[in-house]
Symmetry: C2
Subunit: 251 residues, 2 copies
DNA sequence: ACGTTAGGTATACGTTTGTATACATCGCGT
DNA sequence: ACGCGATGTATACAAACGTATACCTAACGT
């Protein structure tokens, strides 16, 4: 009962989080998002082009940003705000639901495969529902992750790391993985899951006709990763209960 | 003994594969690679900029390409030629080496964890050695995978699929995974490994001080994936040995 | 009532871009 | 010897770009 949907959320249907933004600034940010919607990269946008799309004077851009990178950062902040909180809530909701269904499940190597499957199924599907509701955010995000601007790349990288950290924390708290799993392994697992999810989100957005397939495949991928991590930890525990486990071979 | 290094390869140290390329064309391609080396995307290059870097007249570009996409495709073809063959050979060499060392290894769920670990260790390290030798290729490749140009994206996607297919084929032939693994699962596994490898290659190239760390982590990732796939297959086999095994839940 | 500041506009300048047309050079088949 | 196609160069031009300067207007504290 520790996790239920928050009660009376105002539910802002779009980017309405940070109020009191100058109207021009908003228009510019929206214009940027709009221009990126069909595959463009943030860094390929021009100052003038942006203003044109926003229906503003080119120079208005300068009132709010010095740089295109600055606009990019602003946009990413907004996106991050839209993603992090809600996604973690989704995870909690899914876990809470699976808590109710407390029937014993098939076990393997000490981990509850059944519950894992169900939680993965739910969270992955909730994730894609979320992607459906915020298409541009993922478009821009994943694109800029490997984009040309170092500033934006770093920001995105940080954002992904935060996201992975949320996953890691939630996995621990909800006990979705064996408690013996080393922290650094859980960290790597969370990172892999994050990257997988985001990459698949892009595919998902770009091939609307394969939505159900991609959802199923992604489920499988995440399950694969989680299982692998759990089993490997198990094996490691059997193999080297004594050795200092430092310094791999010649590398 | 079925797999040894091919005997007398001329070993072209760089892009010398397709001979008889007009000198201007070569210079342009090289210039593009050079300009992409520090984080630029192919699609962000200008026709004139390219010619300038190559020390040529802007119009020379038109002699060889109609479009920037055309140059991109040409470059990607060249890169693909450099990667596919050699990488598969590397895998064979590693597997052959592990065949010699035929000591029995710890088993888990019917798969040879020891041999798996070793093969992963070797192939991942060989992969990164290869990355060291072809930095620009990976830079450009991974970048353009999520880049703005649909043409290049598709080409890259196809290239990745081919690469994954090589992995899949080699895994089958070298019996690195339980023979019960369904074809479509092996396919997904190969895709995941491919994407993981390439993404890590980018990180690897951009953070030279963390080379050894990234190598170790990538090993872990691949091992995680492979183990997960193997175990999941095992579980599935136990769970539904009777059912028609079609149609999971409401997908 | 006044000055200051933020937000938005108008115009202008120099640069770079993509593209077009015309010209020079080399190799090569007949 | 001639022509011709392939390659590379020179020059030119319209468009788009980033940037700078100057002006307009509304809000606000004092």
């Amino acid at each position: 009962m520790s996790a239920t949907a928050p009660p009376t959320k105002p539910l802002p249907n779009a980017a309405t989080a940070a109020a009191a933004l100058a109207p021009g600034k908003r228009q510019l940010l929206d214009a940027a998002l709009r221009l990126c919607q069909d595959g463009r990269a943030l860094s390929s946008l021009g100052l003038r082009e942006l203003a044109r799309e926003a229906g503003l004077n080119p120079n208005t851009f300068y009132r709010h940003f010095n740089d295109l990178d600055e606009l990019g950062l602003c946009l990413l902040d907004e996106i991050a705000g839209q993603l992090r909180g809600p996604l973690s809530e989704l995870r909690y909701a899914a876990a809470a639901r699976s808590e109710l269904d407390a029937t014993p499940r098939p076990q393997l190597l000490g981990l509850d495969m059944g519950r894992g499957r169900q939680v993965v199924h739910e969270t992955v599907n909730l994730f894609f529902d979320f992607v459906d509701r915020h298409p541009h955010a993922f478009m821009v995000g994943v694109r800029e992750l490997h984009g040309p601007s170092p500033v934006l790349r770093d920001a995105l990288q940080r954002m992904m790391d935060d996201f992975a950290d949320d996953i890691r924390r939630d996995c621990r708290k909800l006990e979705l993985l064996p408690e013996g799993l080393a922290e650094h392994q859980l960290e790597q697992l969370a990172l892999l899951i994050t990257h997988t999810l985001f990459r698949q989100a892009l595919d998902y957005l770009m091939q609307p006709e394969q939505h159900t397939l991609i959802r199923a495949l992604t489920e499988e991928h995440v399950l694969m990763l989680a299982t692998g991590a759990a089993v490997l930890q198990h094996v490691d525990q059997l193999r080297l209960p004594v050795k200092p486990a430092k310094s791999r071979d010649q590398r």
